[in-house]
Subunit: 447 residues, 2 copies
């Protein structure tokens, strides 16, 4: 592999830019400097902005007011590489095997953001200009919650004004399958505490006369769903926007089989809300999940206590147009209605996050679909993701624009895990995708 | 208080005979020696039998084959006194306040067993003989599970042959209320493990498509009872012997109010099986209790996992004629019938213990009632206890005899807790009760 573009990626991947480990602080500074040098070399106006945490790199093409502006977001920080012994080759000594480049950050997110930088470089070299104004915003704190990003966006709102944001930090539905993720679920969290006696009681001496908080928490949790996996909280689905026909069709066409999901999760059989496919259950339907339950004796063997309290930690994944605060209210009312006699409860509302939806049939959405199709030679898969990417809402709220998620990660990229890797082909296609996408997004202007 | 009997109790209470703390091993030996000396002084044939743990003291009156034999069981070991700062006066420096003697072991069990020894002493001094043959069996491991008692009984079955056993180690229904506990509940333990995915999953990425073991364990636990607190395991009540009319009447007459139980437990309201009073629920009805439940995230705040497994630790308190093995089978069948889709379960049966019942209307039971009534000047309360005393079954199985529980502990004696105390009056009445009970039990011979 003598491709100088791959050589550049290898250079980039050598920085151990682990944002959560303070001993790597200088590595993050060095890595940001490397990006700045690269962006300057290709003619972008570049600067490094220090934050309370790790620096942000901002690089802009020469602005032309006649052109649309696309902000390309990425991050140069990486997850910790531990456990080191699980890596076949050291995480910061990139190596090519089976046409993939193995290193921490290869997929998440250095390979993907560098593909965009190199795409811009090629276009500038070839055409002397870009079809759109480009702003690169590359941060160093994505893996630690983008702590300082919102403040930066607020402070630089004017300068960051753009028409649309492009992000390559999501996964392709299958290897080689062009994928546009157009929706992410929101979240609403809540903790339930069920209290009974003032101390743990002897379950022989008092058992039978005093309600058991562990039993009570189970009885409450059992009311959250019916036997078909449908959430039974009154009003829970009222604001759910039904899937459009094209969405159900797109979900049915995703190359994600139940066998694959069973294999990935290790369950004996899948289970979810009746009437929906696995992809729909994960992406397009809200859920009520018990993330943790506890109460009474947790050790080995038996201890005959009637516990004084029990708890459950719940999160609800939300879809458009469910609002976190509204869902918390409905759940609280449901729980209060189902408290068994003899116990008292406390409900502690947790954090919330809006669901995200970007219309892939909008002018920009169609442009993205065309670009993906052109580069990968197949019809673009339209996917709703089950997880949440809070920065999308941050971008929408502060900059007032949508984000297009152009997936370049392979399903078996091992992001966050040992032996993280990025197929060379995805990298090269990413460089091409950047150029085609910017052209298509330029055309979408008039739509 | 110049009573030499109280002075003896104070001597006895000075030994820090904490059986679970090895630094007190010599104190237990010394304490056993003190009992031997006492028993020898009053003319009993006494010896100390070493065990793998703490020694047993055996003391016998001169046997007369024409007389019945009563074995009086007690223990000289005590619970640890910690937390020491919670004691008003040091636990092994007995002090008299408000006509009570405060010290660790004052009620449990030194005060009660010494009352029997002094009762025998008084009778021998007065009459030169006892109405029955007496065997004192006083062990030093009651607070650590009577580890070596069964082997001792097996090995000395002949020598320990008796007609009935007398134990004063239970509580009076109320202060000054003569109480005969005639039944104790048995127990059957079981652990349930519910398994789903092979690792904790991201509840956003997979939530909705994969069954949640924490939800599943709650759904299973919620089937154990109906809304009225009735256990819904098929066949669970089939072998429960209904309470006799005199039992329900005796339960209704117990001086144990709901207000008192509410105060003791600190609950806002009592709750239990519909159709039964608090005393009946605790003593005469079997229960299904969740002693512990756990799964997923247990720390502070939120972690959005879909846990790989969850567990519940259950115990069932049993009443005559429920058999632990049979109940475990019924519960296992019930659980297997209620496993929600998408998870697998494992059931680990735990220990079992038979319920105990001694007919208080038998000749010995009526003798005990008469003795209690005579000493306390009130009608004897007949009580079923919710807890379990495994040695009763051990005695019945190995020696083939029943145990009569002559309560001397006050409800507010703080046994096992700081400021344990024994009313002087209970101590003196106990000395009297021993003599009256032995006379009555001697008469019961012909019944």
């Amino acid at each position: 592999m003598n491709d100088p573009r791959v050589a550049l990626l290898i250079e980039f991947l050598r920085f151990p830019s682990v944002s959560t480990q303070t001993e790597h602080n200088q590595d993050l500074v060095d890595c940001a400097g490397w990006i700045r040098n690269r962006c300057e070399a290709i003619g972008l106006e570049t600067r490094i902005i220090p934050t309370a945490g790790h620096p942000i790199v901002l690089a802009k093409s020469k602005p032309d007011p006649a052109k649309r502006t696309v902000l390309i977001y990425g991050h140069y920080d990486v997850q910790p590489p531990e456990p080191l012994e699980a890596w076949e080759t050291p995480p910061f000594s990139p190596e090519i095997r089976n046409d993939r480049i193995y290193a921490r950050g290869s997929t998440d997110n250095k390979g993907q953001i560098l593909a965009h930088i190199l795409g811009v470089e090629e276009a500038l070299k070839r055409d002397g200009e870009l079809p759109v104004n480009v702003i690169f915003l590359i941060e160093g704190e994505e893996e630690v919650g983008s702590t300082n990003l919102a403040a930066f966006l607020e402070a630089n709102r004017e300068e960051l004004q753009c028409d649309v944001i492009v992000i390559s930090d999501t996964g392709m539905a299958a290897h080689g399958c062009p994928t546009l993720s157009y929706a992410l679920r929101g979240i609403a969290a809540l903790e339930l505490i069920v209290r009974g006696p003032s101390v743990d009681l002897h379950s022989g001496v008092f058992g039978g006369a005093v309600a058991n908080p562990a039993t009570a928490v189970a009885r409450i949790l059992s009311t959250l769903h019916n036997e078909d996996g449908h959430v039974m909280v009154e009003g829970f689905y009222d604001s759910v926007r039904p899937m459009a026909d094209w969405e159900r069709k797109a979900a049915a066409e995703l190359p994600v089989t139940d066998d694959l999901v069973r294999e990935l999760t290790g369950v004996s059989e899948l289970f979810g809300e009746k009437g929906y496919s696995t992809s729909e259950r994960v992406g397009a339907r809200p859920t009520a999940e018990v993330n943790g339950v506890g109460g009474g004796y947790q050790g080995e063997g038996t201890k005959t206590v009637l516990p004084r309290e029990a708890f459950a930690k719940l999160t609800f994944r939300l879809v458009p147009n469910q609002a976190p605060e509204e869902i918390i209210k409905l759940v609280e009312a449901h729980i209060r209605k189902h408290v068994p006699p003899g116990v008292t409860i406390e409900i502690i509302p947790g954090h919330g996050g809006e669901p995200y939806f970007f219309d892939p049939m909008s002018a920009d959405g169609l442009a993205a679909q065309r670009a993906l199709e052109q580069v990968f030679g197949k019809k673009t898969a339209l996917m709703r993701e089950g997880g949440s990417i809070p920065i999308l809402t941050t971008f929408r709220n502060i900059l007032g624009v949508d984000s297009i998620l152009l997936a370049l990660a392979s399903p078996d990229c091992q992001a966050h895990g040992p032996n993280e890797n990025f197929p060379i082909d995805n990298f090269l296609k990413g460089i091409e995708l950047n150029q085609v996408a910017l052209r298509e997004l330029a055309k979408a202007k008039s739509a």
